[in-house]
Every structure is written in structure tokens, then in C-alpha cells.
Symmetry: C2
Subunit: 384 residues, 2 copies
């Protein structure tokens, strides 16, 4: 979808015109009241569910959640996946040509925020003729967008599902982002963000950034269970004490896993996008303009909420979700909160967990029932 009207950004900059790539699943009903918008996190985009006929290996990133008969049932809902502004999966971003120069934006692509993304997504909803969304949903950074939607467009969001998210990053969260950014920015192949013109990619920086990320996505426990201190087979075959090889190469399975993840990521993810997305994470802090009072920040929201956290998620711990729940309750909002006992850390929001899936399914069944009853609203509808 092409948008020619400039978009004013939080930073004061604006973007002249832009494209958003999106995918839809299911059928928009006649009342246009069954649309569910899925917001993505760092390493994802519009391709939420299913496969392409010509690329059957490329499964949508939330395919276990969205599809026919799945918790977000595309036999009932019209689901929209949209790639955010500044991303590298098709929407306008740092790799796109800057109309001012004809060359890729690179570091000149403006810094965007969660709120900017939401405004851009709202225009997409406009263009699709959807005045009111049955639900906005997202995990992690996607959950922040869902929260922002509920505050910026309260009349347009009937239900809001914020999964494994936080009302703002902690100092430790920002610290991890900063280390990842430094790894990228100090890679000589980054060239101040103009690496496209040099025909190179800062793969070393991207690899280190992704390795750091992966450590924070998994719980200490699941990392222990999955990898522990196991050595790679060819290593433990050696006759040296402990099976060690006494090198700095890959010896432990966990090293192999991280290096593989880093290499895979660096082969497709744009370094400038990494910077932009982590900065959007850093900046999101709706309470900032309200003297740190989250309840006041969320006061405009009218949606019915679902908040989900995972016990072993130390990146966005359950305590962070509870802050959101308490702020919503302080405003008299209706909130379903599930703290899922799952071992997988932050990654859990992408994985199959019976309890988690049951919570999502049951909550979306209620959303569907309201849509069918012609009352797809939360508080706003009732207040009429």
C-alpha cells in the first residue's frame, strides 16, 4: 500500500511518502467489524501466517497462533499483518531509495517510534476501510504497539492483546540494546550506515547483536536443559581431559547454537533497521509524559484487554505485565491477565504452550462472539 501524504513523526521529522507491505488472512465481514491487526516485534514482518505457493518453506512467524481453526481463527477474523516503517521486509525503510537523493536512505532514514508505527498502521486500516478493529494484538515490541493503539485510537480498538511485553524498557533492557548497537556501529563494514554503497554488510556486528539477543530471549533454565554444558560431538570425541579441545572455536553446543543464529540473522537482516527498531524499543514509555504515572498514560484506552506474561521471561518479566494490568484496573478497564508457567523465557510467546494457546483461543472466542453480536466493543460500546 502506497501512502503519498507525508507522515509527521514524533521526532519532528517527517517522511514524504512510503509503502507498507501487508498480508491479510480470512474475510472481512460486511460490517467490517472482524478485523484483527497483528503487530510485529524485532525480527518479523507482515508474513504472520501460512506459506506462499512458491515458497513453501517460509512459514509465517505466528502461524501457530493465526490460521483456520487456530486461536486467532481466520475462519472468523480478517487478520492483517503489516510490516512496519523502517523495517527491512518490504515496507519503506533504510534500504529504500531516499526520494531526495535516489540512493538508499541508510542512516538518513528518520528515527521512528512505536507511536509513529501506530499512526502509519492506522492509515493502512483507513485505506482498507476499517474504522474499528475487533482487536489489535502483539508480543514483545508488538505488545507495545497494541498498547499504543489502545491509547492513540481508543475508539478504533475494541480489544487489545499485549503479550510478553512491558510498559517501558528497564535500564538493563536498554543496556542490552546499546551493546548490540555498538557491535553494529563499530563494525568497520557499517560505514556509518552507508554500507550499501560499499557493497558490504556489517555481518560481524549483526552476528554479535543477534547472539546477545538470543541470550535474552531464552531462560537460563531452558538454555541449561537444551544445551547445558554439552560439547559438540566431534569435540567430545577428542581424548583430551574433559573432552575439551583447548581452543576458542565452537566447543560447547550453546556456542554452536548462538553462532548459527548470528550467521543466519546477518544474512537477511538490515543493520540500520536493527538500530531503528531497538531505538523504538528504548524510547517507548507512555508514562513519561504523565510524570511516570502509567495509569494516567493508559487512561484514554477503552478496549477490553488481554495481558499475558511468562514466568521465565526475564527480558519482559511478569512484574512488567502486572504494572500494565494494575494501571488498566486503576482506570476501571476490563482486563484478563494470564501468567503462563512456561520454561522458554521470552521466546515462549512464539511457541506452542497448551495453557497459553488455550488462553488466547478462549479470549478470541469472546471477541468473536461480540463481533457476531454486533457489539465488538469494550468499554466504549457500553458507555454509549
Amino acid at each position: 500500500m502506497r501512502f503519498d501524504e507525508p507522515l509527521m513523526l514524533c521526532s519532528g521529522a517527517s517522511i514524504a511518502g512510503y509503502e507498507l507491505v501487508y498480508e491479510t488472512y480470512g474475510t472481512l465481514n460486511a460490517e467490517r467489524s472482524n478485523a484483527v491487526l497483528v503487530c510485529h516485534a524485532l525480527n518479523a514482518g507482515h508474513h504472520v501466517a501460512g506459506i506462499y505457493a512458491d515458497d513453501p518453506g517460509n512459514l509465517g512467524w505466528w502461524d501457530n497462533m493465526v490460521g483456520p481453526g487456530k486461536p486467532v481463527d481466520t475462519d472468523r477474523f480478517f487478520v492483517i499483518g503489516v510490516n512496519n516503517l523502517g523495517s527491512c521486509f518490504g515496507s519503506t525503510g533504510p534500504m529504500s531509495p531516499d526520494p531526495a537523493t535516489g540512493k538508499p536512505y541508510g542512516p538518513d532514514f528518520p528515527v521512528v517510534t512505536v507511536e509513529d508505527w501506530v499512526h502509519a498502521q492506522a492509515r493502512l486500516a483507513d485505506a482498507l476501510g476499517i474504522e474499528r478493529l475487533a482487536a489489535v494484538m502483539g508480543g514483545s515490541l508488538g505488545g507495545m504497539q497494541a498498547l499504543a493503539w489502545s491509547c492513540l485510537y481508543p475508539q478504533r480498538v475494541a480489544h487489545c492483546a499485549a503479550v510478553a511485553t512491558a510498559p517501558k524498557l528497564s535500564a538493563q533492557n536498554i543496556a542490552f540494546n546499546e551493546v548490540a548497537r555498538r557491535a553494529i556501529i563499530t563494525d568497520p563494514d557499517f560505514h556509518g550506515g552507508r554500507f550499501y554503497e560499499h557493497g558490504v554488510v556489517p555481518v560481524r556486528g549483526l552476528q554479535v547483536a543477534r547472539m546477545i539477543g538470543h541470550i535474552t530471549y531464552l531462560s537460563d533454565d531452558v538454555m541449561g536443559e537444551k544445551f547445558g554444558r554439552a560439547l559438540r560431538r566431534h569435540v567430545s570425541d577428542a581424548a583430551l581431559p574433559g573432552g575439551y579441545r583447548f581452543t576458542f572455536d565452537v566447543e560447547f553446543e550453546i556456542e554452536s547454537y548462538l553462532r548459527y543464529q548470528g550467521e543466519k540473522f546477518s544474512s537477511y537482516f538490515d543493520a540500520n533497521t536493527y538500530l531503528l527498531i531497538t531505538r523504538a524499543l528504548d524510547y517507548y514509555d507512555p508514562a513519561l509524559a504523565h510524570d511516570g504515572d502509567l495509569a494516567r498514560a493508559l487512561a484514554p484506552a477503552l478496549a477490553d484487554f488481554l495481558v499475558v506474561s511468562f514466568t521465565t521471561d526475564w527480558r519482559f518479566a511478569p512484574e512488567r505485565s502486572r504494572e500494565i494490568v494494575e494501571a488498566l484496573l486503576a482506570n476501571g478497564r476490563r482486563v484478563t491477565y494470564a501468567e503462563v508457567d512456561a520454561p522458554h523465557g521470552h521466546d515462549a510467546f512464539l511457541l506452542d504452550d497448551a495453557q497459553y494457546m488455550a488462553v488466547m483461543r478462549s479470549w478470541f472466542e469472546r471477541v468473536d462472539a461480540r463481533v457476531r453480536a454486533g457489539a465488538p466493543a469494550g468499554h466504549a460500546q457500553e458507555a454509549r
Copy 2:
């Protein structure tokens, strides 16, 4: 101290001859029974306490613990600080000339283990005429050396203080080490470890490595209290929303802190040493040769133990110390265990905390009393 006899290493390699830099504090008594060996962790060395007349700003790394009237009272004890083999603070290491080539060892310096360090330290004790140490002590990686001493030289260790340590690294611990190593190794200025010959230093890699380290040294809470989401003054002066500047430069205080720590570290720490020391951490696992049975691994130890952990230390959490305590108790060893409620994370072992210092002082008073009674031993002495 120069050692000309080759030292066989765990890896099967050997080091021809080497020097260990050490410092001593206090006076060795006539019975040579009041010696306390301090083992250092990653970023430290022999300079444990005090200052040098010509460098008054260079305070020893554990000066709050060791000195006249301090918990490890140098009016009573003869304290030895020794820089480990492979380090970069004076003992033979990667920056030293390889006798085979006359050029710095660089990547040819052999991979050393905690046990190798202990054997090298034992030779130093021999050379100082100390048959039996009143105590061996250390924090973090230093605690691993203290544990290894108690098992490798049970008759030579009367007391053993292992602070903020673990019986082995977890997969997550190894993961953080691996990311730090990758940042260094993939820095083009690393030159496969031969950067000395190129007149450069892999500062970018060292900076990122140190930044990662610092995140794991501090608790999430103390980082929140110390830095939170505060913006640097010149930043928050800006009139943009939230005080943000919409850049990837330092905006948050936590970014400034990490960058400063990284830059400082890269100005004095050797990259090859970083690899060696983190690998020694990875490899330490005394239970490995005993089917994972830590009690069997620690069975040779005869010392009286002090084990200390800190509630907010998520790098080496209290659970890890409790594993040590339980294994020692299973062997009928005498153990004092203190779980100190301190907010500072892993860093707490280097900081002043009243409860922590009181525990250390009281335990070392008992060590001193035994030294004075001519019975500076734990179990071994009693078993005679």
C-alpha cells in the same frame, strides 16, 4: 618470581618457563602459618591492596577487604596477591615473548585452566617457603581457584573462602563469554591474535566484550536504581518529545556508563588474555570427571570453608553457592555459608556491605585464632 621448570598444563601442552608477579602484605610469622593467598578474577591481578608510593591513584582491587585492621587483617596475616599465568598485568602471558620465536606469544600462548593456575600458584607458595596456607580466598573466578586449591592440595589449605562463585558455568554464562569472545575475535584489528605485530588493538571488540560483562555484573534492580531511564543532561535539555534526541548516540545514562566502562577497559586489557580467562571460566567443572557428582569431586578437600553469595547476583546466583555448600556438607566438611542480601548483583563481592564485611571479618578472626593456637587447620588437623 621466575620459574624455569616447565609447567605441564591440563591441555597436554606445557609452558617452558614463566614469571609470576606477586605482592605481599603483612609479615610471615616464624611458623610460616599465617599466609593467605588471594586469587583474582577476570579483571584483576596481584595488586590486591594499598597503593604504590609513586602511583597513589592505583588502589588495590580488594583494598576494602585486605589491609591493616580490615577483614583480612594484614597486621595478623601474610597476604599474597598473585597475577595468574596468561594475564596481562605482569605475569607471563600472550604479550610476553615466546622463547621459541622472540615475538609475543599472542594466540600461541597455551589455553590455561583454573587447575593450571593453582599448580602455578603452588610453586609460588613453595618458593616463598609456605607449606600450608592459613587460607585461600577468592571471588567469582577467584573462588573457583580457591575451590580447586582445596581439592588439588588438600593438605596445604587450612581454610578456603569461596565468594560469589559457582561449581561450573551454566549454559547462559558460557553464552555471554562466547559473545564477548566473538566480538573480539571478529574485530578486524584482532588479526588472529597477532595484533601486537600490527601495532593495533582490537578496541571495538574489547569494548563490546566489557559492556556485556558489565551488564552481567550488575543486578537489574541496581541498574534501575543507579541509571533507570535517565537521560544525559545535555540530552534532556533538548526540546524534543520526552527529551529524546532521536539518534543512536549516547542519550541514556546507562549507555554513557557502559560506553565509558568499555573504553576504559579497552585501553589497558589484553584481548588474548580476555579469551584465555573466559575459556578458563568455561572449562572449570570439577564434577565432570565424577559423572557430574560435585560431592565426589570435592571429597578430597579437607579445609574449613566459607561460602558467600549475594541475593541479587544473577551471574553466579545463590543457588550455585548452595550446590557447593551441599556437596561439602555431604562430605562432612565444616562450612559457613552466608547469603548476603545485597542489591549490587555480582559486583557486590567487591563492594562494601556491612553484613558481608562482618561475615568475612568474623570468619578470618577464627582463622587467625587457629593460627595463633598453632592449629591453623580444618578437618585434616583434627584427623591427625
